[in-house]
Symmetry: C2
Amino acid sequence: MNQDFMQAAIKLSREKSWQGDGGPFGAVIVKDGKIIARGWNQVLRKNDPTCHAEMVAIRAASRKLKDYRLTGCAIYASCEPCPMCLSALYWAGVEHIYFAATRKDAAKLGFADDFLYQELQCEPEKRTLPIEQMMRPEAVEVFNQWEKLENKVIY
Amino acid sequence: MNQDFMQAAIKLSREKSWQGDGGPFGAVIVKDGKIIARGWNQVLRKNDPTCHAEMVAIRAASRKLKDYRLTGCAIYASCEPCPMCLSALYWAGVEHIYFAATRKDAAKLGFADDFLYQELQCEPEKRTLPIEQMMRPEAVEVFNQWEKLENKVIY
């Protein structure tokens, strides 16, 4: 069963990248033993750097379930999720990740997944992407006011 | 000038969260001294766990520039980007990040940003979200075939 789901993800990785949608990455999301959403890399097709296979699958599953929490769901991804996709899977509350190829396999093709994991482990001042803080008090004041709202929702 | 951009991001964080779209987070993307895209958290409004302020802004900027690379762009975010958003900013090629509140400030409200940074620094087997490998050879075979395509694009 698991193998059928991963096979579906790998099939997407092959077919969609061959037609030029993006890199060779596919994913399916499974709930109660059924595939409820499919995703494949569409960075090129949609000119959208966030359209990794897992992200597309998460968004499709959320639309289907009408819920931003994918409770009871597992994802089968043809490659180890990059830090963007891994974090999105946490935010979505996906409960199990299965993957096939690794970040190192993706790096051999020229993709930055492995590099990104290294960057995120650096202290901010040692990263290659400069990051700078400013105006914290103004933003924290909004947080403080928001915290007092009665109808606020934390996700 | 910088302060005006951050003020715009903070304004979005206040106004949009008050109307119930999502958490109190806003962001703007700037190119050549002008705001080209705005984003705010819409996780609740859109039932989409990926709709953080920075992600919404990146996607809007990509649509505007018709490019998945946001060359020459900076982002002003009312809060330090979570690992999902930070990684997306790398994938997009954004060149400078400015932020106001910190991941710790967000944690005080109950958001998982700080926790997520900790999870990503763990070895996979020590994370709270189980992750498991299977069928690597089948996926790597697709990578190997893809690598031989003449028209492949690596981003």
